[in-house]
């Protein structure tokens, strides 16, 4: 292209206009080819649909989790590229789908229930295949769920041969808030995280399980199948 441009300049200064025009046409052709080669291939749509991606992340985490964390886990452990915004209407869509054809799908992404009022816990996603106690959020549950998730991520990291640096970084961020799990600098040590989180988990687990079982019994007693998955309260959509 550089040569062509030089030739065009020379032809123009020498007054050979017909030649210059022909050269310009060749230059444009060359530029088009160059553009086509440089251009990135368009980003492929993900092979796995969003709900599958969320299911995968939640199965790994093993506890009701907020959208932001699900996206982070999907990105660093499965190389997924979800946006937070894709998850906002997910729970409502799942609820509509369940209401129109209950049990048509093998699993549903549903709500976690607050232990006190059995209403859907804000911002958390859970799996319908989990038992009811696992989907109850009592006062201690956010902490035990956080610790459980950290242990499960660490265990998964130990199984992987070539985990991404992002995965270690994510675990490091979690470990920072678990006493004795790491100093917050450098990659986290999964074994240390498992030990530290396990130790704190042992302190809370019994009381938390008691709360959860009690609330789960209440939920099984009072709620219908839809409310058991998506919570009771004014915010559930009526068969829209």
């Amino acid at each position: 292209m550089g040569k062509l441009r030089k030739a065009i300049r020379q032809a123009t200064t020498a007054g050979r206009h017909a030649e210059a025009r022909a050269l310009r046409a060749r230059l444009r052709e060359a530029e088009r080819q160059w553009d086509a080669e440089v251009e990135q291939p368009a980003t492929q749509p993900p092979l796995v649909p969003v709900r599958e991606q969320v299911h995968r992340a939640l199965t790994l985490l093993g506890a009701p989790t907020a959208a932001k964390m699900i996206v982070a886990v999907d990105e660093s452990f499965f190389g997924g590229q979800m946006a937070n915004t894709q998850l906002t209407s997910l729970r409502r869509d799942e609820e509509k789908s369940y209401r129109s054809a209950p049990g048509a799908r093998p699993y549903y992404l549903c709500a976690a229930l607050t232990s006190e009022l059995l209403s859907p816990a804000r911002g958390l996603l859970a799996l319908s295949t989990w038992g009811l106690p696992q989907r109850i959020i009592g006062p201690l549950s956010p902490r035990t769920d956080f610790l459980t998730s950290a242990v499960r991520l660490a265990e998964h990291l130990m199984r992987l041969d070539d985990a991404s640096p992002g995965a270690f970084r994510l675990l490091g961020q979690l470990a920072q808030n678990i006493p004795g799990a790491g100093d917050g600098f450098g990659p986290a040590d999964p074994a240390k995280v498992i030990a530290a989180a396990g130790a704190e988990l042992a302190v809370h687990q019994e009381r938390d399980q008691m709360d959860r079982r009690e609330a789960a019994a209440r939920a099984a007693d009072r709620l219908g199948p839809v409310e058991r998955l998506f919570g009771s309260g004014v915010k559930t959509v009526r068969s829209a």
């Binding site: 907020a66 932001k68 964390m69 607050t114 009022l117 059995l118 209403s119 859907p120 816990a121 804000r122 009592g138 006062p139 201690l140 549950s141 956010p142 902490r143 769920d145 956080f146 979690l174 920072q176 808030n177 006493p179 917050g184 704190e200 302190v203 809370h204 009381r207 709360d211 919570g231 009771s232 309260g233 004014v234 915010k235 559930t236």
Partner: protein, 357 residues
């Protein structure tokens, strides 16, 4: 429908927050602000309706940044906050309960949320609950005869101990130093929450030490310190008690006064606003949405208020610039109670004339 609802009309009201109460307490003598706040009038909307520049308040970027930082601190069951509280309050490992009070069984109404918050806080205070971190509780405070709902970021509770108000702010603490005006603004705001919480559970149960959570140095990592707000509490309590009772102000207003922002024509709203006396001071410019309107009014009428509180206090008894000028002119008749000021003004005028000549 009471008088305040009648003043607001059909336009939806605007919620108070600690920031607006701090602003209200900053100028307790201003009837205009008191009435508008009590009637929950949407002040930015009112100003837009009167075609004033509505670029007032926090920048959207600052609000967004604050929101992001708050989300970070509260992520994963407030894991960051729990770590900070464990070091700061020596919180034992067992106390890790987290309760989100953002809605009450899906109901986001103020009354339901406040009721829920109150129940949980009572349970916690009596040692029956397991909550250590109460996220986004809704408190209620009686301000000048009006009920105001307040939402602190977090209330932390230590078993056998006290409640602490936690304020999450996005300005950085660099080398254990933070910007003084920002810290004092945060302290004033937190003092409003402490005051409201003390109304609910009693004085002794709420600590006067507020926990301030900020980013550390140049990172995004949260760090926490305690800030003593005893001084701010005393100031706030005095200001709140001094706030003129809203009923007596309303009695002085013309009957049938309405500030229905959406329904009335702009001229009528402007007349209605002008009918409520204001107490403008240049400090209002940083605290009140209506300040530009009040400033223009003060300038137009030649009020001394526009020159600042010091000038106004120095010239006690004289209302306007015209009066001051007249009194300062030698030979003009002066009322007895203005004689002293007239003498001082004339002295200053003489000095000025000599200097200029």
């Amino acid at each position: 429908m009471n008088r305040l609802d009648a003043i607001r009309g059909t336009t939806p009201g605007q919620d108070h927050n600690a920031r607006s109460i701090a602003a209200l307490a900053a100028n307790p003598a201003c009837d205009r602000r008191a009435v508008l706040d009590a009637a929950a009038i949407d002040k930015p909307r009112l100003m837009r309706r009167l075609r004033f520049d509505d670029r007032w308040g926090q920048s959207p970027f600052a609000i967004q940044r604050n929101q992001q930082f708050t989300d970070l601190v509260k992520a994963n069951g407030a894991a960051h906050l729990l770590r900070l509280l464990r070091t700061l309050l020596d919180l034992p490992i067992e106390e890790a309960g987290y309760v989100n009070l953002e809605d009450a069984g899906g109901n986001e109404g103020h009354v339901a949320r406040h009721g829920h918050t109150r129940r949980i806080i009572r349970q916690t205070a009596e040692g029956r609950g397991r909550a250590t971190i109460l996220d986004r509780p809704l408190l209620r405070l009686d301000v000048a005869g009006a009920q105001v709902y307040l939402e602190p970021d977090v209330i932390a509770f230590q078993l056998g101990g006290r409640f602490h108000i936690v304020a999450i702010k996005s300005f950085a603490i660099v080398d254990d130093q933070a910007d003084t005006p920002k810290v004092s603004a945060a302290a004033r705001e937190a003092a409003v929450y402490v005051h409201a919480l003390r109304d609910l559970v009693g004085r002794d149960l709420v600590s006067h030490d507020v926990i301030l959570v900020c980013p550390r140095d140049f990172t995004n990592e949260p760090t926490a310190t305690t800030v003593d707000v005893r001084h701010q509490l005393v100031t706030l309590a005095r200001q709140l008690s001094r706030l003129t009772r809203i009923d007596t102000i309303l009695d002085r207003l013309p009957a049938g006064l309405s500030l229905d922002v959406d329904a009335l024509p702009a001229a009528q709203i402007e007349a209605a606003v002008a009918a409520i006396p204001a107490r403008y001071a240049p400090q209002c410019l940083s605290a009140c949405e209506l300040s530009h309107l009040c400033r223009r009014e003060a300038h137009d009428l030649g009020h001394l208020d526009a020159l600042g509180r010091i000038v106004r206090d120095d010239l006690g008894g004289i209302e306007s610039v015209q009066t001051a000028l007249r009194v300062a002119t030698p030979g003009e008749p002066v009322a007895d109670d203005q004689a002293e000021i007239a003498e001082r003004l004339r002295h200053v005028a003489r000095l000025y004339d000599e200097a200029v000549a």
